[in-house]
Each structure stands twice: as C-alpha cells, then as structure tokens.
Subunit: 553 residues, 2 copies
C-alpha cells in the first residue's frame, strides 16, 4: 500500500496557473510560489455573485480524526467528476503536530491536496509570519516595560504569551527575563502553539488589510497595575504587525490529485478559537466557484456551531447544505469499544454509539438548512457495520446518507454523496439563528448547551462570574461566544461519550479576545501547547538527494 506522500509525489500536477484559469482567475491575480502553489490577490465585494456553500462537519471524533478533510476533498473531486465548477476552502496544517503524530491535515489516500509535503511543511509561510508577528508583539511589550514602562503595564497581568509552531511541552510554563537589569524583567510566561494565537483567529476573520489592522489594534495584551486594559493600539504597533502579515492575509491556491482547485488558508484551533479556514478563502471559493465546499474543525458541537454563529454573520452567507461525516470506528468508540480494538467488528458498540450521530444531525438541523450524512468507509469496517449504519441513517434520521470511499477511490468514491448534496443545495430553506446576535452572553451559552450539546445548563465558576462582571462593565457582553471545550464529548468531560443527558457545562473562565471579536468560555482543561509522543513521527522522516521524501505519513 502506498503512503500518502508517495501518492502525492507520484501524482501528475497541473501548473497552478492552469488551475487558476479553470476558476477564471487570471495570471495578474496570482503570485506563484513554485509551479504548484500560489497566493491570490483577491478583494471580496459583498455584491459578488456567490455560489452555493457546503459545510462539512462530523460526529465526535477519535484521536486520529474521522477523515473529514479526506471527505471534503473527495466530495470536491466528485463535483469535478460531475462537471461542476467547484472550489474547496480548507485549513492549513500546523507543522507542530506533523512532526509528532502520523496523520496529516491534507486528506489521505487518493483524496489529497497536493503537493502534500509542501502544504504540511512551511507551505507559503503564513504560519511562520504569524509566529513572527506574535513574538514580535511579545518582544515589544517586554521592551516597553524595560524602557521605563510608560503605560504602567503589570508584568504579572500580561495575557499575551509567546508562540511556536512546534509541539513543545517544555515551553508551556517558563520564567523569562532572567540575567539581570540588561536582560529584561523576570516574570512568568508560557508558549502556545501558533494556531492558538489570537492573531491566527484574526487573520481568518479579516476581509482586508485595514480590517486586519483595526482588529490587531484592538487586541488586549494585559492590564496595568491599576487594572486597566492595555491594547495593542496603546503600544502603537498595529501597523508593524499588519506589515508582517501583508502576504499571510492572501489566500493560497493548490489542487487536489484530481485537479480540483483548493484554497487553503489559515487554521485556528476549533476549541479556543473558531476552527475554520479564513473568511477570505471561503469568499474566494464562493466567488470563483458555483459550489464552495468548506470544513470546520472537530465535531459539529465545536467547529460547525462556530461556523454558524461566529463565521457566517461575518461571511454574510450561511451554508446551503451541511454534511455530517460519520465513521463506524468513532461510533464504536462512542459506544464504549476499546480504542485499541476499533479495527474489529463490534455491532453492539456501534448500536450503542450511534446516538452520537443522531445528536449531531439534530443539532445541525436546528439551523434550518438541509443535512446529509457521509459515511466515511475505512478498510477495517465490516460490511455488516456499514450496512447497519446506512440503514440507521435511512430509517431513523430522515436525512439522506451515502457511503463514501474517496480515500481508496478519489472523486469516484463520492459521486453519490455529491448528488445528494447538490439536491440538498437546491432545496428552499431558511437559516434559523440559534440566538439573537445581541442576546446576553449567558443566554448564548445556554442556547448552545441545550440546543447543540443536549445538556441542561451552564455553571460559572467564581472566576468566570467575576470575569463576566468585568466584561459587562467594559460593555463587551454582547460579543459572540466561543466555547472552548473537549472535542471528544458533547459535555466538558472527554470521557463522557455517546449522547450524554442531564449534564451541566462548567465554565471556568471567560477570556476577552477583542481583536477576534469574541469571548472565549473555557470549560475543562484546554491544552494550548501539545507535546510530542514517545516515538515522534520526525524519527521516521527522511529526504534523499533527489528530493524523494519518506515517513511524512
């Protein structure tokens, strides 16, 4: 069996100018990065003719993921197969995890975006630019304190950490500024992974350089000794930080193995941020394609909810169809099967776990748009399991469901799914908001918990209550809410699988993300700097003199 990187390196790519031409993007609008990658100079207008929008989401995943990206890419290739003008809008992979675990974010098998090695490594430098901009701001904050601290910043209350696109647990908690008067002010600090940076969220929500600059200026970086907020605009460095992101803001264009155009741009965390590719990339896909297919991170409780409630209002467009990806493996896990034995047939576990799919589908139906289930077939799934799942969808969920085999078969493996999606997109449907945009924060959280998670209520810790009071006092209590929660459960307990009932969501803190324009509600423990496993993927990677790569998935 060929590895993903072998399939990618063996694929015949078309020059990126030709892929752009398919979409009607001319050479003046693109900046090539090599022959097969490009950045697009694209200024969206709200008046543009927009294609149909398809959002791909999933059930609660296993640690290895459900192949949501593979489904998204396969679906795109199926649209191409059917002669449709389609464009994908996807997130960029984070390099940190690439060096750690096997399994990338560029699809798999014959449903990949390529060149997968470049996309998984530095790509066009967007994440590097974000890392640089983020850490430049951190240095400017400490430098301000070093040179007299005119703004009266309290070193104990700086909320702006540093970042690296490396899985490096050693940097989670550090003490910096040691070494005496000329080497800074000693204080506690920590590093997050780059995708957790508020700058990443901002880049993905901005629609122009000016919008980006304005958002950067609004970012809260800490408090003064007398507890007043300090913003980037107080430091007067929003211009320099925007300058550092002048190319990163431009969407990237690549192709799938079957030459379907794909905009790959941005990739914020789906728990502490909104988990979707950039608005500019989705707008580009909508503008240039008759169909735009995008995905949201983790399960529908995290990524898709945020797409609907945070992204859509800024995109000024709601999905015409929602695809919920389900796998036999994840449903068995949700039904109590041991994660080491997911390759073995286990109909009992599948039957117990299938309630997870039901709740995800019903959650998405709250928004009023058509839902289609994609059953992503793994080679280890038995025919009995697949049949049970397909029958369940047909008989119990009252939504269309199709088995997809794009990992093995590329676009051909998703043609039936594509046909269902096209039909769904043509259905007249009215988007229904989960809550009013100006509802109080607690009402918004309550609506998400009861309508999407299936829980009862929210409980705020003392710290969260105090934070809420401060937020109300500052006048930010009408901002959107971004729930930071485990991706493994509808609850805030990663071990509570399936479709739990009668639970509360415990909010430990509320964090103001004024640049991104939302408030993060922290539930449980959210790790923003991953570690590497005992046998990191890096140990198996190699490249020879001719550029042939091994071990990269």
């Amino acid at each position: 069996m060929k590895s993903d990187v072998e399939i990618s390196q063996a694929a015949r790519m078309e020059p990126i100018v030709k892929i752009a031409d398919k979409l009607g993007i001319n050479e003046d609008q693109i900046e090539q990065y090599g022959h097969y990658k490009a950045k697009i100079n694209f200024k969206p207008t709200d008046q543009g003719k927009d294609g149909k929008l398809i959002l791909v989401t999933s059930i609660n995943p296993t640690a290895a993921g459900e192949g949501k990206t593979t489904v998204t890419i396969g679906l795109g290739d199926a649209f191409t197969e059917l002669g449709k003008k389609v464009a994908l809008a996807l997130r960029e992979p984070s390099l940190g995890p690439v060096m750690g675990m096997k399994g990338g974010a560029t699809g798999g098998g014959y449903a990949q975006v390529i060149p997968m090695d470049d996309i998984n490594l530095h790509f066009t430098g967007d994440f590097d630019a974000l890392t640089e901009a983020h850490n430049t701001l951190a240095a400017l904050i400490d430098n301000h304190i070093q040179h007299g601290n005119q703004l009266n910043i309290d070193p104990r209350q700086i909320t702006w950490k540093r970042v690296l696109d490396v899985n490096d647990r050693e940097l989670r908690q550090v003490v910096i500024g040691l070494g005496g008067r000329t080497s800074g002010v000693p204080r506690q600090d920590g590093f997050d992974i780059t995708v957790a940076s508020e700058l990443m969220a901002i880049l993905c929500l901005s629609t122009s350089l000016s919008d980006l600059k304005e958002r950067i200026g609004k970012m809260l970086i800490g408090y003064t000794y007398d507890r007043q907020p300090v913003l980037v605009s107080n430091l007067k460095v929003q211009g320099a930080l925007t300058l550092l992101l002048k190319d990163a803001i431009k969407p990237n264009l690549v192709q799938t193995i079957e030459h379907t155009p794909a905009f790959i741009h941005g990739g914020p965390f789906a728990n502490i941020a909104h988990g979707c590719n950039s608005i500019l990339a989705t707008k580009a896909a909508l503008h240039f394609g008759d169909y735009a297919i995008t995905e949201a991170g983790f399960g529908s409780d995290l990524g898709a909810e945020k797409f609907m409630d945070i992204v859509s209002p800024r995109l000024k467009k709601t999905p015409d169809c929602v695809v919920v990806v389900a796998t036999v493996r994840a449903l068995k896990l949700n039904g109590g099967a041991d994660k080491k034995h997911l390759n073995e047939e286990n109909l009992d576990a599948l039957k117990r776990g299938i309630v997870n799919l039901k709740r995800h589908v019903e959650g998405m139906q709250q928004y009023g748009k058509p839902v289609v289930v994609a059953i992503n077939k793994f080679v280890s799934d038995s025919d009995n399991e697949i049949k049970y799942l397909a029958d369940y969808v047909a008989n119990n969920l009252e939504v269309p469901g199709e088995v997809i085999t794009s990992w093995a078969d590329g676009g051909k493996g998703a043609v039936n799914l594509a046909k269902q999606v096209i039909t769904a997109c043509d259905k007249p449907a009215q988007f229904q908001e989960l809550f009013a945009p100006d509802a109080p924060l607690t009402d918004k959280m309550q609506a998400i918990v009861s309508k999407i998670y299936g829980g009862n209520d929210i409980e705020l810790s003392r710290k969260a209550q105090n934070a809420l009071k401060r937020i109300e006092k500052m006048g930010y209590d009408k901002l959107p809410i971004c729930m930071a929660k485990t991706q493994y459960s509808f609850t805030d307990d990663a071990k509570s699988l399936g479709a739990p009932e009668n639970f509360s969501i415990h909010v430990s803190d509320l964090q103001l993300k004024l640049g991104a324009g939302f408030i993060v509600a922290l539930t449980g423990k959210i790790l923003t700097m991953p570690g590497l496993p005992s046998h990191p993927a890096a140990l198996d990677m190699d490249i020879d003199e001719n550029g042939r790569i091994t071990g990269l998935f």
Copy 2:
C-alpha cells in the same frame, strides 16, 4: 528625500524570469515566489566554468555600518553599466533587527536589491524554516528526556538552545519545563537570534541536501551525565530536520534597482559564525556570471578573514580581488570623534583614525590577492575629508582607491571603482594561505592575531584550556577556527579603536560546532540575542489598504 522603501516601491521591476534569462537560467530551473523573487534549482559541479570572484569587506564599522552592501550593489550595477555579465551573492537580512533599528541589509538609496520590503520581511521563508528546524530539534531533545532519556542526556549540559528571529532580550536567560511531570523537565535555557543558529552556518556551508543532512547529523547538542558528546545522529532526526530545510537550501534570486541579478541566501553572524552568504549562492553567481561579487560581514578582521580561511577552501575558489570599503565617518570614529558628531567635519579625527584603514588593507594583502579601496561617500562628508582620504590611499597604501556615490547615483556612481576592480581581477596573483589547514588550533589563532589583527598573542582562560584539551582528546584540533570577537576593534575590546598595538586576545572558551565543521573561539562577551531600542523602528511602520508601506527605513 525619498526613503529606501519609497524608492524600492517606485522602482520598475523586471519579471524575475527575465532576470534569470539574462544569466542563462531557464524557467525549469526556477521556482517563482511572486513575480519578482525566485528560488533556483542549482546543483554545482566542481568542473563548472567559473567567473572572477570579488570580495567586498570593510574597515571597523560604526554601529550603523559602512554601507558595505550599498557598495556591493552599486559595484554590481556599475558592472552592468559597463556591459559585463555580473551576479551578486549577498546575505539575507535578519528580521529581528529590522523591527529594532532603522537601516536595513538590502543596500540603500539607489543601490538596493528589490523588492526591499519582501527581502527585509519574510522573503522566501528561509529564516523561518531555520527557526522551525532549530526549535523542532530542541523540542525533540527535551521530548527524549521526557520519555525516559535512553541516551542519558544531562539536562544541565544541553548546548542546543532555542531561537527566534526577533530581538528579544527577555528570552536570553530563561527557565523552562515548569508545571509538573507532564510539562517537561525544569532546566536553564536561553534563546538566540536565528542567525546565530549553527543550522544557519551549516545551511551556508552545504553544497547539497546530502551534505546538509550529514552536517546536521554531526551537530553536538550536549553531553551525557558521564560527559560523552550527544550528536543529532544519536537522536536519529537529521532526516526530519533536512526535510524541514529542503527549500531553504535553494538560493534565492532577485534584482537590483538597475536589474542586476542578485542571489540572496543565508546570513550567519560574522562573529560566532563565518558571516558570509551561502556557498551555493556564491557558486551560482560564479557559475552564471563572468563576475561574481560577494560580501563578508563586519570588518575584514571578522568577515573577510573567515571568507579566506573557512569559506574559500570549501568553495574551492579564492577571491580575484578584495574591495575594502572605507568611510570618513568610521575613520573619524576610529580617530576618537564622538559618535554623535560624525556629521561634522573633523580632519584631525580622520587623520588619527586612518591607521584603521591601513591595517585592514595590509591584513588583506597577506592573502596575496589585489586589494582596492572603495571610499563610500556620505552626504555629510566634506570635500576636504574625502580629498584627504583619497590622497592618503593613493600616497600611503599603494593600492587603487575610488570614491563611490552609488547611494545617490546607483551604478553610475561606482563605474570608476568597477574599472579598477576589473583591472585588478586580471592581474596574475597567487593566493597565500595564512596558515596550513592542518596547523594546531593555537597556531591558527596566533596567525590570525598577529597577521590580521596586528596583536601579539593569545591568552586562553582556564576554561578555554580545558576545552582545548577535550577537543584534542576528541581529535578535533585540526578543524578551522572561527574567531568570535567584537566587530568594533581589532582587539577583543570594543572601545579600543584605530590600530591598537601590543595587545593580546583573550579566549574565554572554545565551542565545538561539528556540523559547521569549525571551532568557535569566544573572546569578550558576544551577545547572541539582541534587544530592541527604546524607540523600536516597529513603532513607525505602517501599511495601507493598497499595500503602500511607510517607516521601513
């Protein structure tokens, strides 16, 4: 007066494919990064027909530099003006200082490489890739310890620090790994600026992917509890790190304002490393041009000495002519003038300081190749000062000297200099080694001190003596030496200006850089992580909606 970035943004650029075509590089060999930057797929062969090599160096500089890059670029444009097929080979700017001090590394005025904004910011991502690879290795080291420490690495003896391309004094000395068992092992650490990474030195000395991988494998990252060296190859991650640098190893091609081709690639520190652009870039310039013009960092005592003694043997080519850049300003500083009053005429200081130029010229003459002096004229220099300096060169140094005004006049301002350089290149001359390649370390140091610095001898601290013994025991005592010394003085005391006599160089430590293949002799205090000034350049930078940049020099 227009700023550098205004001149750059107003310049008419030719498509990079056209610049490549001038040199006979065809489209298959280049990977475009936008319309005006490219990476070159170039495999050097030792048998290739090589052009003439011109090395640009300088006297001991002021903190603002002597415009050595401006001279190099102006000289290149003068060669173009004279109808010669010429290519430049230059270092990439480091982004950290760009955010700090005004004054870039892309030339100035009408002698610039462009687009200067892109080159000064992320360019083609080489430094970002180095940062990522460096920190990935750091994470892999700590991860190895976290997961059982099979190699028995002593956390107190890890020599591999972390890096960022940010001027961030706050990270010079840190404690990492706090937060308990799941967040690493607490230990002291520190961050350097990316250009100080041994990976940077290695990238610039490698001639192929395999060479790069082999060097990376040899890097020393620390010692075991029983004081045995630990190499990257012991961790088995040289393949992954090489993979992360697969594009960074390719030289970048841009153009000057007057469309002279310029390879810009790599940029190691000229004190703790060798301070020259990549060997691959210089080889490309030699291969494609009839004349290749390159520069070495800081004054001739640092950069040029290392070019001759470390780079040339690996390049298998020595310079055909050495250009020593002198300025009235730096000579006045060397003659005791106050650095705040360098804009005012001060012939006395100039007369006192001119011995600095004399020693640099005589040092370079040791190598047996022709030397030419370039007097880089600043607008603040008086006619009397320029005349005194020109007369001194003509009457006392017995080498050609020409005034150059390329900052104001571009290539035209360096035509006379170019003619002198062409004449010099045609002179028959035999390269003379400063010392035998297999001379003992102390003999090599002694030769550099007496023949180049003009000092008496070297004194090794107790620590350096012990290090020397260990190095001899390990069998590395025949490696080249890389002197880490202040750039402001021939001595190891930054305040000892002019041409000091009767001094010793104090070596405080010897560091093994097994990947780069040299031993660093530390003298005085070498800062490997700069800080930002009280008013960082970042505060004045901006970009508007149309991409117009201000404040970037």
